[in-house]
């Protein structure tokens, strides 16, 4: 497999990069294995690290899909940059909201204690 840089691949293969079936199949096999692994670790008690382990496995799977199935590894670097900037902004959105939430955590619990029965009634 010629892992040529994005700049000269177009000349070799016409438009875009052609991936061998073997690469695609190996990626698929890795994704299936990681799914089985996450179901397995999900059933274990990892003493508070359950969420972290599940998210690490999900991130590895997402990276495989983005780099290989979505051709980002061989694509124009600018498309990858667009994708990375998106992740950065989502991360900022998440981090700022979570920071804000933990700042007001005591108020949330105080409110919950004071209004335990104010569940929506459907009216």
């Amino acid at each position: 497999m010629a892992a040529s840089p994005a700049s000269d691949h177009a000349a070799e293969h016409g438009l875009g990069h052609v991936l061998p079936v073997k690469t695609l199949a190996a990626t698929f096999a890795a994704l299936v294995a990681l799914t089985l692994l996450t179901v397995f670790t999900g059933k274990m008690d990892l003493h508070g690290f359950d969420l972290a382990v599940a998210l690490i496995i999900a991130t590895i799977k997402a990276t495989l899909v983005a780099l290989i199935f979505m051709h980002l590894r061989w694509d124009r670097p600018f498309n990858g940059l667009v994708f990375l900037i998106t992740i950065l902004f989502v991360g900022m959105f998440l981090a700022l909201t979570v920071t804000d939430r933990s700042q007001y955590e005591r108020d949330i619990h105080r409110f919950d204690r004071a209004h335990p029965a104010e569940a929506p009634t459907g009216e």
């Binding site: 899909v65 989502v90 998440l94 909201t97 979570v98």
Partner: protein, 243 residues
């Protein structure tokens, strides 16, 4: 196989292709942002009410979620393979791969339908829904949601003693199902759109619209499909694997 038509405002077919692809990536960017709002809502509620998420997750079937994950992964594999076939001008392979992608997507929606109808029948819905069993006032829960089913067996209302449940927990469990249905529902709509896109590509492939110089639509359709897969890769552990 047809040649690519070069629009007059592009210098070359290559430039035209790169422009279309960048446009697709920017569309995917807006899709990720769109979903991120729901992921943030999920994070905030889970951080504040981990107990409710833990309680509610017992009503989600991990095996069905895992089966759906495998179906989407397989469909992503065939979508990527379809792009390869289009690039090489292999019409038969392209159509076969697109067909498998559609079948997997339909299988995904079938399992989703099974899960949704089970939740609807048991009243595992957000607190404001008419059929929900997680209402603040037990008197407002519809009588048919409380009693066991015709075929025998207890309802969730009976087996999980929802009537005497802690009201604060009940409220948060209702919110969990609100988030669950928003996230999986929005994702399900994307799967339905994806099925439409794949059928359109299949129709065009059957009419020899694609070739080694002209596969932009297949490439961009596959990119969209991979994004749908990408979102589910995170939804699965976040919703089904809460321990």
């Amino acid at each position: 196989m047809s040649q690519a038509k070069l629009a007059h405002h592009f210098e070359s077919v290559e430039q035209q292709f790169d422009t279309a692809k960048l446009g697709m990536w920017i569309f995917l960017l807006t899709e990720i942002m769109f979903f991120s709002v729901l992921f943030v809502a999920y994070t905030v509620y889970r951080a504040s009410h981990a107990d409710a998420f833990q309680y509610a997750s017992q009503f989600l079937d991990t095996n069905l979620g895992a089966a759906n994950t495998l179906l989407l992964l397989l469909s992503s594999f065939t979508a990527a393979w379809a792009v390869r076939c289009a690039q090489l001008g292999q019409k038969r392979g392209l159509m076969l791969n697109l067909l498998v992608t559609v079948v997997c997507a339909l299988g995904f929606m079938g399992i989703k339908y099974h899960e949704y109808s089970h939740k609807y029948h048991e009243g595992l819905l957000w607190g404001g829904a008419r059929h929900s069993i997680f209402k603040a006032d037990p008197a407002q829960v519809l009588p048919e949601m409380k009693h066991g089913h015709e075929g025998g067996g207890e309802s969730v209302w009976e087996s999980h003693h929802v009537e005497t449940m802690d009201p604060a927990l009940k409220k948060q469990v209702g919110i969990f199902f609100g988030i669950y249905f928003c996230l999986t529902g929005l994702h399900g709509i994307h799967v339905l759109v994806g099925i439409g896109v794949m059928l359109w590509l299949l129709w065009r492939a059957s009419r020899d619209h694609f070739g080694p110089d002209n596969f932009t639509a297949v490439d961009l359709g596959a990119l969209y499909w991979h994004l749908v897969d990408l979102i589910w890769i995170f939804l699965f552990p976040l919703l089904y694997l809460i321990s």
